[in-house]
Each structure stands twice: as C-alpha cells, then as structure tokens.
Symmetry: C2
Subunit: 147 residues, 2 copies
DNA sequence: TGAAATTATCTGTATATGCATCTAAATAGT
DNA sequence: ACTATTTAGATGCATATACAGATAATTTCA
C-alpha cells in the first residue's frame, strides 16, 4: 500500500502535459508565422473559413472544440485586418455567416510556407510513427470526449 | 504530383490538434476542480510549489515550459487568495522565492479528489496503452524541443 | 574598482480561453 | 395567433499566454 495523501501527483497530470505541449508547439508555429503577422490560431481560422465558406460561429466553434464566445473574440483581429467578413444570414437573422475576403485568402496562401515549415519541424521531432500515432490518438480522444 | 497550393491543410495541423486537445482536457479538469474554486493551472502551480519549496519564478517557469511573465501573472490569483507567498531571496535580491502557505497546502490536499477524478476520466478514455504511450511521446517531444 | 554585460522579475499591450448573463430571433405548444 | 422555450450570438468578467521593453541587482572584466 502506497501513501498518496501528500505524494506529488503533479508530474503525472495529463492535463498539464497537454498544456505544456500546446504551449511549446504553439510557440514554434507562431514563430514561423510571425513574418506574416499571423498567429497559428488566426491561420487556422482562415483555413477553416476557406474550407467552410458561409459557416456560422456556433458550427465552426464546434468543429474547433472551442466555446462560441471564444471564437467570437478570436475573429476580431481577423475582422479588423479585413481578412474575414461576418454577414447576417437571411435565413436566420440571429446567425452570421463567415467568409474570407480576397485579402484574407491571399494572406492564407502567402503564409502557408511558414505553416509548412513548422509542421515539418514537429513531424521531424516526433518521427513518422509517433506522428501518425499521436494524430490518431488525439482525434479519438477528442471524439470520445464529445458529450 | 499533388497540387497543394490551395489544399486544405487545416485538419492536418498538429498544433491545432494539440490546442484542441488541451482545451477539451482543460475543461474537464476545470469542471472537476470547480467545487474547490481552483483551475487546473492553479492546482498545478500549488503542486509544483509544494514539491519545489523556495523555487524562483524563472526556474519554475522553465519546468512548466512557460514564459516567466506568464507565470508571474498566473501566480496573482494564488497570492490574492493567500495560498502562495513570494519572498525576496537574500542570496539574490532580484529573485523571489515561492512558498505555499498553510492555507495553500490545505487547499491542494482538499482538491486532490477532484483532480484524481478528472485524471481517471481521461485515462479511461485513452485506455492504458494509449495513455502510457501519450505520456512518453509528449515528454520526449518537449525534451527534444528544448533549444 | 567601475563600467559593461547579464540576469530576474515586472509592466504594457495584445491575443486566447471560457463561464454567466444578456438580447434578439426562431420555434414549439396551446 | 400568443406565449413559452429554445437557439445564435454578443458582452462582462476573470484567467491564461507571451513578446517588448523597463528596472533593479548581480556578475564580468578591463
């Protein structure tokens, strides 16, 4: 029997591990995207909006496993820079449809080499097997945690 | 040859995957810790400070793969609640030593069941093999990314 | 020793995150 | 049709994150 009443559980914490990984990996992507004045959050939003033209905030937030209110705020810098438009949906006037502007689409394309370099750096550090395994495991975990 | 000039790279992004995972997992730990009025960030800080009594901000930030300025801000709520003290280091008066108060130590112990429940929930979702593999892979990745 | 370089931390600014709550619009139930 | 409920999104508030730059203390070295 092991006494765990005061044992240090901190290094075992899966959440802190994921957060550390997210911080470090985010730093690397942000550094590679810095020449384009985009964060990886912003790059990811532009990519999703290009893929799902006309999507609403709620639906996109769900895809991103993100609170809708967080997405609302994250869109602000992109609106301000003129990369994204939010237009009222005539079918449901509560909803606002997201679209890329010409400028937003060009910025996304321009920044892609930065994204790719960061992506390749992480892939190289993980190695092919761990990279593939990590993708599958994380996707499965997120799927299983959808309540 | 595949044309990737406009291809949707977004779903392949390792960074967005880690961030999604961190968001979702953080929500679960935060929910389990909510009865104790602690976030997982705060719980983790208390745990580390108990383990490394007297550590300075810079050294702790390094362990947490976190910018020292972020740690400085994250300590504020814990200072305000009286769980943590920052006392000048007599050996180096630039540095401030972190310590738990009695109240902070009691809070950490009290919140442990909440942490454990969240930890077990994630372990159950991953399963033993993926859980162990994920730990090793993330730790290795973070180690390899230390510049 | 004394100036220069380095180090530890803090502040200003900006983005990222989510809960509680609000408003407006659509839908359901009667 | 009218009211009650639900839904989409926005705002207030608090925490989390990090870069640039400021400050103060230590260390280096000529």
């Amino acid at each position: 029997m092991t006494d765990t009443s005061k044992a240090d559980m901190t290094p075992a914490c899966t959440c802190l591990r994921f957060r550390k990984a997210a911080r470090r990996v985010t730093q690397i992507y942000d550094q590679h995207l810095e020449p384009y004045s985009l964060t990886i959050t912003q790059y990811g939003l532009l990519g999703h909006i290009r893929r799902f033209e006309g999507i609403g905030i709620g639906a996109l937030a769900e895809k991103l496993v993100m609170d809708p209110t967080t997405l609302t705020r994250n869109l602000r810098p992109l609106e301000r820079k003129g990369y994204v438009t939010l237009t009222p949906d005539d079918k449901d006037r509560r909803s606002r449809k997201l679209n890329l502007t010409r400028s937003g689409s060009e910025k996304l394309t321009a920044a892609k080499p930065g994204w790719r370099a960061a992506q390749e750096k992480i892939a190289a550090v993980l190695g092919p097997d761990n990279n593939a395994m990590m993708i599958d495991t994380i996707d499965q975990m997120i799927e299983d945690l959808k309540e």
